[in-house]
């Protein structure tokens, strides 16, 4: 970023700004939020350095063709505090997250790599627990961990365990799911309740512990995707709304396809306790992370059969049609509120921050 630190003045309009424009000459936590700051980092630093046609698709996975075989390839790093939480831990998250990135390209996941950065002093018991959780999650999903790496950093240089997993899968036939495929008239399908994972993690944070039965929804979604693909050939795009929540995924699709997306607030499933926690903390569940949900853009003719197939799978039992793709407001996500008015569902700048009062 090349923003100056001086106060910007707008002489022609007769305005002087009281807040200086701040330079971003160091990495801030917000750069990892999945919101607008993350996108800035991608477009200003990474994309100019590594331009190529595969990367340019900017989907959750790269699709490469090798000797006539279409492979999906992805990587993801996992840093989560606390490491263990109701419904999962950093190990299951690392397996399911990478499988889901492959599955969103319609790929059948096959192999994972596993790399640890461990902090000196970490308890062996904790490491064993995480490894066991990875073994179980990979077994359940039917993928093999075929390569790995371990590094240890000095105490204070890490945070217990950082995990990276990369994954390879096969994409059937000529299937092409991408964020630039949405067309006006398409329906927006969501596989279940939103915000469960993010609120679970928040509820475990120091100083915030509140009693609830909320569990992380972490799950591998490739079987759900396979069922959906069987039900109809009108699926244009899949996304798992992790960091930045449902809003970030839909804003990305609206931007890449240059379409509008119009949601219906009353049709978005949210658990009552998640809604309650969000109200208490001043958060909007549309921006809270999920780890076992997907959102699908489906052509209008396939929407009903795909929805039915989702509901038949335990991971999509709560599926709903939550909106429509439109040709108004290209690049914007809007929502019909329960009062019947409309509002924007914007991409957040950085992390969602609890409000003062």
């Amino acid at each position: 970023m090349t923003r100056g630190t001086k106060q910007e003045t707008n002489i022609e309009a007769g305005l002087v700004c009281p807040v200086p424009i701040v330079s971003r000459d160091s990495v801030l936590l917000g750069h990892g939020s999945g919101g607008r700051m993350s996108a800035e980092l991608l477009h200003d630093i990474f994309l100019p350095a590594f331009q190529n046609s595969v990367l340019a698709r900017l989907d959750d996975q790269a699709i490469v063709e090798v000797n006539g075989c279409r492979l999906a390839f992805t990587t993801d790093s996992f840093v989560v505090k606390p490491m263990f939480f109701p419904g999962g831990d950093i190990g299951s998250l690392a397996v399911n997250g990478t499988i889901n990135d492959l599955a969103m390209g319609g790929a059948v996941p096959l192999f994972l790599s596993l790399a640890f950065i461990l902090e000196e002093g970490l308890s062996m018991d904790v490491l064993r627990q995480v490894v066991e959780s990875i073994r179980v999650a990979a077994g359940l999903a039917g993928v093999s961990i075929v390569t790995g790496d371990t590094k240890v950093v000095e105490k204070g240089s890490g945070d217990g365990i950082f995990v990276n997993t990369s994954g390879i899968g096969m994409v059937p036939g000529s299937l092409c799911l991408s964020a630039d495929q949405a067309r006006p008239g398409d329906r927006v399908l969501l596989s279940g309740t939103i915000g469960d994972h993010g609120i679970t993690i928040l509820s475990q944070r120091e100083g915030l512990q509140f009693e609830s039965a909320i569990q992380s929804d972490t799950a591998a979604l490739h079987t759900l995707v396979a069922d959906m693909l069987c039900a109809g050939d009108g699926i244009r795009c899949l996304r798992d709304p992790t960091r930045g929540g449902l809003s970030s995924s839909l804003n990305e699709i609206a931007g890449r396809s240059q379409v509008g997306i119009h949601l219906d607030e009353t049709s978005i499933p949210i658990r009552e306790d998640v809604q309650g926690a969000c109200e208490m903390l001043g958060l909007d569940p549309l921006y809270v992370a999920n780890e076992g949900k997907l959102v699908a853009i489906v052509d209008p003719h396939s929407a009903e059969p795909v929805l039915e197939a989702m509901r038949q799978n335990p991971l999509g039992r709560g599926a709903q049609i939550i909106g429509t793709v439109t040709d108004t407001h290209p690049g914007l996500v809007t929502m019909r509120t329960r009062l019947g008015t409309s509002r924007i569902v914007d991409l957040l700048s950085g992390d969602q921050l609890p409000r003062i009062c």
Partner: protein, 369 residues
Amino acid sequence: MKYLDEYRDGRIARALMAEIARRATRPWVLMEICGGQTHTLMRFGIDEMLPPGVEMVHGPGCPVCVTPLEIIDKAIDIASRPGVTLVSYGDMLRVPGSHQDLFQVKANGGDVRIVYSPTEALKFARANPGRQVVFFAVGFETTAPANAMAVWQAKREGLKNFSMLASHVLVPPAIRALLSSPRNRVQGFIGPGHVCTVMGYREYEELIREFRVPIVVGGFEPVDLLEAILMLVVQLEEGRAEVENQYVRSVTYEGNLPAQKVLAEVFEVCDRKWRGLGGIAESGLALRAEYADFDADRIFGTQGVTAEEPAECISAEVLQGWRKPTDCPAFATRCTPENPLGAPMVSSEGACAAYYQYRRHLATAPGGR
């Protein structure tokens, strides 16, 4: 969800709206005081539903927006020092000071932490006697009692490593300042529900006697706000000017007396500078002399830090209800949440940020009336 769904019920909202349209025979300009209320108006598109004659303008009740630049600079100065942990509510971290914000101090190695209550800061101070723990206390009467309680507790325990950088502000003096201005357009106020939960609404009676303007203490959900708007319209149409309480499930006439007691024990009324509005006499709270040992401003010698805020910024006019965010030529072009030119674009409760986040898609801008 109980106590939520019924206050967001579309049928009730539409019925209230129809009643507002029926009762309003003339144009009226109303102001909601709280940033939280502004946020609800924009998030639920209530401005879209109101009859054309009833205009909402947005008040100064966003704590982040009215906290003066120099207090942010003081917090940044203190947080940058070795051995100090600065603790604050999350949304203060993004507010730019003269040169940087607290997120950048954190990125550069300063120990800046987000908490949800000042008692967490106390707990951290007890557990880390080697660090100076400073709580950055901003906000209205709503947050002041919990902050007062933390200082009171620290004194009782004899904690030597806890202090507070306090910049509390009070609502009634701000309303008085708005009404005293020759440019005032506001004919009725939706009073601050959470402030009045603490303070009651006795002190608003004085404003009514002085200025003959109706005030309805209102809640924060769509149905709360619509009911408050209806109550104001009815008063105005009938030529009455009274304090009424819409938010009866939370607010009583006397308010929360134990909270007021600890507030008075720890804080005293002082003159305070407001961003956008300038200095307002007796409009803030400062630590009493008996609690000087917990005053971070004194301990860290930052009393001299000042920052100049140009008087001609439009945010002053927005915070006083003279102009709408969309009247600003920089709105949503040069001024966005990523690149805020003024404080009301920084906080999600700021009027400019609320317009930007929820309403900028409307072809006819909400402020275009």
